[in-house]
């Protein structure tokens, strides 16, 4: 029964975070100099008092703040994130159109990061202090220190410009009009460079975390018990060490998701991946504030949903969840 109450609490938390994100957004809007009316007027090219006034009335900007907040909250709750200044389309529609590409890229990067990171971490933890361990540590420190966007550009320079192995831009070959499997293969090839670039930083984190967790768990008493039972080293490593060491990684995946999305904005831009990240860049350059804010809200909600998922996974992986954390 306690696992259910744990999940219930996390569910409530997710809802609260969403509400907080929307509240924060409402105050961010008021941070920007000038209100929607001035911006609209600026774009329309003229600004006489009467027009501004009618605009303000139309957008409800002449009403008291709590009323505006309530309207904003109800609007967002119904999926109305406002209109994009530049595209003259509902913000949500613009974002939803690009969202699948971003999710695809991020999911791929996450898989590569976890898979690679866990493997490298296990490799390093096998002989702490050895040359192999040291090289994993040095590499991971290097990937921590490299700006992701620059790493992407360098990868592009090497693998696309110099070696010509992989396509540098976009999600698929322009004008090729592949269908079916050929299209999937085309997209996959395009995804390699941005995906791996995005993954490397997180792979470094995972490698370090796995290494630490493996070494820590290997020193625990229950591993000694396992050896005292005379079971094989493989079983000791798999059932006892790895199973315990992987639990913190589940929670970590949730926490990393937020950073992953930030990295995705940069990497998408470098590789012209038509996702939410490039959209954010366009919003910045065209000063399309409602769109930028909409992207923040949508990505924040998605990341908190992903965290909910990892919390549930954690509650299944660790029976001690009922002890409460």
């Amino acid at each position: 029964m306690n696992r259910l109450s744990y999940i219930g609490a996390r569910l409530v938390k997710t809802v609260l975070i969403t509400v907080a994100v929307v509240l924060l957004s409402f105050f961010l809007i008021r941070l920007a100099p000038g209100d929607t009316a001035t911006v609209m007027a600026g774009q329309a090219g003229f600004a006489d008092e009467a027009f501004m006034k009618s605009l303000r009335a139309e957008y409800g900007l002449d009403q008291p703040v709590p009323v505006q907040l309530w309207k904003y909250l109800t609007a967002v709750a119904q999926g109305d994130l406002g209109m994009s200044f530049v595209r003259r389309q509902p913000v949500l529609d613009v974002i939803l159109e690009r969202l699948p590409n971003t999710m695809l890229l991020n999911a791929f990067a996450l898989l590569v990061a976890i898979g690679g990171g866990v493997l490298f971490g296990m490799f390093a933890a096998r002989r702490p202090g050895s040359a192999g361990d040291a090289s994993v540590t040095v590499l991971s420190m290097l990937f921590y220190a490299v700006p992701q966007f620059w790493l992407g550009m360098m990868a592009m320079l090497v693998f696309s410009v110099w070696l010509g192995w992989l396509p540098p831009f976009g999600i698929e070959t322009m004008g090729a009009d592949y269908t079916g499997l050929a299209r999937i293969a085309d997209i996959a090839v395009h995804m390699i460079l941005p995906g791996v670039t995005l993954a490397l930083y997180f792979m470094a984190s995972y490698a370090r975390l796995t290494r630490t967790a493996m070494i820590e768990v290997a020193d625990q008493d229950f591993v000694k018990t396992a050896r005292a039972k005379g079971i094989s080293e493989g079983q000791v490593a798999h059932r006892h060490i790895l199973r315990n060491a992987l639990i913190p990684l589940v929670t970590f995946a949730g926490l990393q998701a937020a950073i992953l999305v930030g990295g995705s904005v940069l990497v998408e831009n470098v590789f012209s991946w038509p996702g939410v990240g490039t959209l954010a860049y366009e919003a910045v350059t065209t000063r399309d504030n409602p769109l930028l804010l909409g992207i923040f809200i949508v990505t924040a909600v998605l990341v908190s949903l992903f965290n909910l998922a990892t919390d549930i996974a954690y509650s299944i992986a660790d029976p001690r969840v009922e002890l409460g954390r």
Partner: protein, 536 residues
């Protein structure tokens, strides 16, 4: 003597370079007899535990058996291939550890943890192995084995966990069970049950047991033969009755003498009409749980009353979770009690604010349990000792002068004032903690398990020091302990607590001679080696 199952010959275990000494075990020779219990007894750092681990072939990383032999069935275990050693472990030699919570994998259920051992050595199916496991658990006196097999370690009590560990160790009927302080982490009553269980299993199954302990009381109860270790060497060995009744080595004699016997020879408390401190109907509840699980309050201290006079020591005895430490922390106002009053020198301090409390604080002082975490690692001993007077605005020079006197009083060299706590041993650290408390010239001294982290010989010294100081300074002492034997040594009166409530209280002698409650009787009966040691 019976024929040896395992012969340890000149075993030397080397520590990694940079350790405080080169060898943890230095030329140890021992025979582990068939069908008997051999106890290795010694204090921390004696090498007793590493000797046991060497027999298992499970020395920690960096620690190696650099010399000698461990002969078992004609083969030298130190020279076995890892794979051969693995097959031996669990099947012929099994081991149980000090802390069963740490020794069980927290995320694998009990059933799997037992069956994986059975299945690793015998090619049988999951179902059959589970049946065997259930049978083993029943043999260990555990009930409802079906649901037990599906539970996880954190859902069991300490005693149940150790029973599971023993069941696991016995699953393949090993010839030798190595038990490394298997009851040290358990409550006394649970300890008594586990000891009885090991003894019963040993004689039923006719196997050998290598039992590691620091407690001569346990030796008296358990061992057929005993080996005393000190600083990596065996200083004395023989049959238990021989060693206990006629110890030849001075260290053995010191060890035996230091074990509190559990016989109380303290006079009843001096009659004192007006107690210095009177606690009435004190309660403290802890809230836990939250939004979803439903908040609940647990009464850690429930309606407790006591009085304390100058010159006397009142012992608060109880197992873990009895609320004895919470009571102490309420009395010294580290915790705020929920109900009741604490009359100290005529004033009720139970609900007094910080300002009113301040002048009274210095008159109630405390000595803590953990000699390591109770001293700030970043302050010198001198700074630690004069911290109290400094907080009350005493002149630095005057405080330092007094500190030197107090250090001498507690048996510390005042010249060590500039050193940091990590340069001192556990016993010395407890002396520093005592000096810190005494600097404020308290009227009441609360000692919260002050010797439970110390070796038995050091324990005796610190207990004596506490009693001397109490007499010299005419202190009222509240002595918190889980150990009836220790209570018998220093307390004029004792109060037995359980689940936050007082079970009974009275003069120590009377309670020990004629306990009125079943629980106290059980606690007294659980004292290891009581009868035997007393007779020696």
């Amino acid at each position: 003597m019976a024929e040896a199952l395992i012969s340890i010959r000149d075993l030397t275990v080397a520590l990694p370079p940079g350790a405080d000494r080169a060898h943890a075990v230095d030329g140890v020779s021992l025979d582990i007899p068939r069908n008997e219990i051999l106890c290795i007894v010694g204090e921390s750092g004696s090498g007793k535990s590493l000797t046991a681990h060497a027999v298992m072939g499970l020395l920690p990383r960096g620690v190696t058996a650099s010399g000698g032999q461990i002969l078992f069935g004609g083969a030298d275990l130190l020279r076995q291939r890892p794979e051969a050693m693995r097959k031996l472990r669990g099947r012929d030699i099994a081991m149980i550890f000090q802390d069963p919570m740490a020794a069980l994998n927290p995320v694998v259920n009990i059933g799997q943890q037992i069956t994986e051992q059975i299945r690793a050595h015998r090619g049988i199916g999951e179902k059959e192995a589970l049946q065997q496991a259930a049978g083993l658990l029943a043999e260990m006196g555990l009930k409802d084995t079906k649901s037990l097999l599906k539970s996880f370690p954190h859902q069991l009590s300490g005693g149940q966990r150790q029973r599971v560990m023993i069941a696991m160790a016995l699953s393949l009927s090993p010839k030798l069970l190595v038990a490394d302080e298997p009851t040290t982490a358990l409550d006394v009553t649970t300890q008594a049950q586990i000891l009885k269980l090991i003894k019963r299993i040993q004689s039923e199954r006719e196997m050998s047991v290598l039992f590691i302990t620091h407690d001569f009381g346990v030796v008296a109860d358990m061992a057929d033969r005993v080996a005393v270790m000190r600083q990596g060497r065996v200083v004395e060995s023989g049959t238990t009755t021989e060693v206990l009744s006629n110890p030849t080595h001075s260290y053995t004699r010191a060890l035996i003498a230091a074990v509190p016997t559990g016989e109380c020879d303290l006079p009843p408390p001096p009659p004192d009409a007006v107690p210095l401190m009177a606690v009435t109907r004190l309660s403290k509840r802890f809230r836990r749980g939250g939004f979803f699980s439903g908040a609940s309050a647990i009464a850690a201290v429930d309606n407790v009353s006591l009085t304390l006079s100058r010159g006397e020591t009142l012992g608060i005895v109880g197992e873990s979770g009895s609320g004895k430490s919470t009571l102490a922390r309420c009395v010294i106002r580290l915790l705020d009690p929920d109900e009741g009053e604490i009359l100290f020198d005529g004033a009720d301090i139970a609900r007094m604010g910080a300002r009113g409390l301040r002048p009274l604080r210095r008159r109630i002082q405390m000595v803590f349990q953990d000699p390591f975490s109770s001293l700030n690692p970043r302050e010198t001993v001198g700074d630690i000792i004069i911290a109290g007077p400094r907080a009350y605005g005493e002149d630095m020079r005057e405080a330092s002068r007094r500190a030197a006197d107090i250090m001498r009083l507690v048996g510390l060299n005042p010249e060590t004032m500039k050193r940091f706590p990590h340069e001192f041993s556990g016993g010395q650290r407890q002396r520093i903690g005592l000096a810190r408390a005494l600097m404020l010239k308290p009227d009441v001294l609360i000692a919260d398990e002050p010797v439970s982290a110390l070796d038995v010989t050091v324990q005796a010294q610190v207990l004596k020091l506490l009693d001397d100081v109490r007499q010299q300074m005419n202190l009222a002492m509240l002595f918190i302990t889980h150990d009836m034997r220790v209570a018998a040594q220093v307390c004029h009166r004792v109060m037995v607590m359980r689940h936050g409530q007082v079970v009974e209280s009275g003069p120590t002698r009377e309670i020990f001679a004629a306990p009125s409650s079943d629980y106290t009787r059980a606690l007294l009966a659980a004292i290891p080696g009581r009868g035997l040691l007393a007779a020696v």
